[in-house]
């Protein structure tokens, strides 16, 4: 008894060491993340204080960063580009993703569910360059031949690829949210005579509402921040699209395409960092909302 009551000095030492390691790790993560944020803000700062003109930046579509005669930093077309590709991608991905999550969590027999989840996770592991490659070599020629378009790199192509990329996020997080609903709710609904489908739509989905919304938001955030695939799929045209078959350029694609050529420390370079800052703010707000919803869902269940 007494020998067990007092832990050895050795085991206490090891525990301290672990604790220290975890503290250091967490500290490093916080320092690194705030460092990155400070860096982005710092690089954008001189532009924000100097050449930056909010009205031009947010309302003009004239993006001529390295014009010799009249330099312009109107990013409206880039915002609209991101918005249009994101919106179209979500129009496709949200219903399919949610139905997929509902199917996997509530309706699929185990012998379909398990392989299904593995396939979804594999889909999430495909690097975005590969998706861009598919957009370039499969979707684009298909659009040209089937829809008789001059080019196949446009909003629709980018949205399709992004929808496919966000599906795994929406499905697997949505499935988690549905599985977190206690079985006693399903049991109660079925005891009242509800069918499987009625139980799902009337009870389980409303109970998982916040978690499902968070899944959708995290899908959106994945789409907004995606660079490589949209760069390859949407064509390069800084303008407001008039149809889903017009090429566009998104915020992310602009940074990726131009940062290499912009002289470091120059105005153009700092303008691109300002775009980066905008992206940062957008994804931060979306993730923050999603986080709040997930917390509230966890609180309720």
């Amino acid at each position: 008894m007494s020998a067990r009551l007092h832990r050895s000095r050795w085991s206490r030492g090891v525990e301290r060491l672990f604790e220290l390691g975890i503290r250091l790790g967490g500290f490093a993560a916080v320092v690194l993340l705030s460092g990155i944020m400070l860096f982005v803000v710092g690089e954008a700062w001189p532009f924000l204080l100097g050449r930056f003109d909010a009205i031009e930046f947010f309302t003009s579509t004239e993006w001529f960063p390295d014009s010799v005669v009249k330099v312009r930093y109107g990013a409206l077309a880039l915002f609209v580009g991101t918005l249009s590709v994101t919106a179209l991608a979500m129009v496709a991905a949200v219903p399919v993703g949610l139905l997929g999550a509902i199917y996997l969590a509530e309706l699929a027999p185990p012998r379909v569910r398990e392989p299904g989840k593995i396939i979804i996770e594999l889909l999430a592991a495909i690097p975005s360059v590969v998706w861009g490659f598919i957009a370039l070599t499969v979707v684009s020629p298909l659009m040209v031949s089937v829809l008789d378009l001059p080019v196949g790199l446009n909003v629709a192509n980018g949205a399709l690829v992004l929808a496919l990329m966000s599906l795994p996020v929406i499905i697997s997080l949505g499935e988690d949210a549905l599985r977190a609903v206690p079985d006693s709710y399903r049991e109660a609904a079925e005891a009242l005579g509800a069918t499987r489908w009625e139980t799902t739509t009337r009870v389980v989905v409303p109970a998982a509402r916040n978690g499902l919304l968070a899944a959708v938001l995290l899908g959106v955030s994945r789409v907004v921040g995606e660079t490589m695939a949209v760069l390859m799929a949407t064509g390069h045209s800084v303008r407001i699209p008039h149809s889903i078959f017009d090429p566009v350029r998104t915020l992310t694609a602009t940074i990726a395409a131009e940062l290499g050529e912009a002289p470091k420390g120059g105005e153009h370079y700092r303008a691109l960092f300002t775009i980066g800052l905008c992206l940062f703010v957008i994804t931060f707000v979306i993730n923050w909302l999603a986080d709040r919803l997930i917390r509230r869902a966890a609180h309720r269940v």
Binding site: A188, A191, G193, V203
Partner: protein
């Protein structure tokens, strides 16, 4: 034609290879309160679930024998379990209102089976809530989440949500075990007030409750129905020594 609401003939039931019920036969009188007693694990909940086929949720179950409720063979393959559950309501041991508003909880079942106007649904909800004496307390809070109610109110709500369907039978699986004694008394009064209108079958671990509440009483042991009869007769002069010992509290 007998006056039995539930007629059970030689029912045996298995969860996988485990036999939970063995040749149970029982007849439950219409309009009365019948208590089902027996030690833990003897199959009371299982028998109750068989009556509205909730046991099938467990998967891999097998059942033989015959259960008739108001003359209908409920185990027949052609029976719609959803229609069956509409007529045979089940109240669980732990109050389990759905995470919806009070009003939605009461109207859910009715809205599953028929299309009602908003006013009709509201009127039915009012009837049901009045029946369980929740209306006065909740009439201004019909939109609040049912999970925020007290346990007793939740259990009343769980009874109320069965009533708009006008079920023939109410099955109650230890409806008071999560409640304190004052709430227990209140629920018992509610059950008494439903007597005559509904046939109630109440599982309980409390001999005193069985005696206070039930017209008839049935005693189960290890998946078998040992003895059933009028409550007073069972408590004072049971035929089977095991029934006498259990009801006297000599084992549990």
């Amino acid at each position: 034609m007998s006056a039995a609401a539930i007629d059970v003939r030689d029912v045996s039931m298995w969860y996988g290879a485990f036999q939970a019920l063995s040749e149970v036969s029982l007849s439950v009188k219409q309009g009365g309160i019948t208590a089902l007693v027996g030690p833990s694990g003897c199959g009371k909940s299982t028998l109750l679930k068989c009556f509205n086929r909730m046991h099938e949720r467990a998967g891999n179950t097998r059942i033989t024998g015959r259960i008739e409720i108001l003359g209908h063979d409920v185990l027949a393959a052609s029976v719609s379990v959803h229609e069956l559950r509409r007529h045979v309501g089940l109240v669980f041991q732990r109050p389990n209102p759905l995470p919806l508003s009070v009003l939605e909880n009461v109207t859910l079942s009715a809205s599953l089976f028929e299309r009602w106007s908003k006013e009709e649904l509201h009127a039915r909800a009012k009837d049901a809530l009045q029946r369980v004496e929740l209306w006065d307390a909740l009439k201004d809070r019909l939109g609040t989440n049912a999970l925020s109610l007290s346990l007793e109110q939740q259990q009343r709500l769980c009874i109320a949500r069965l009533l708009p369907l006008k079920p023939s039978v109410l099955l109650m699986d230890e409806p008071c075990s999560a409640l304190d004694s004052r709430s227990t008394q209140a629920i018992e009064e509610l059950l008494r007030s439903l007597r005559g209108e509904y046939t109630s079958l109440v599982v309980t671990h409390s001999m005193a409750q069985a005696r206070r509440l039930a017209d008839d009483c049935a005693f189960m042991l290890m998946g078998r129905l040992v003895e059933a009869g009028p409550t007073e007769q069972l408590f004072t002069s049971a035929n089977d020594p095991r029934t006498r010992d259990y009801l006297a509290g000599r084992f549990g």
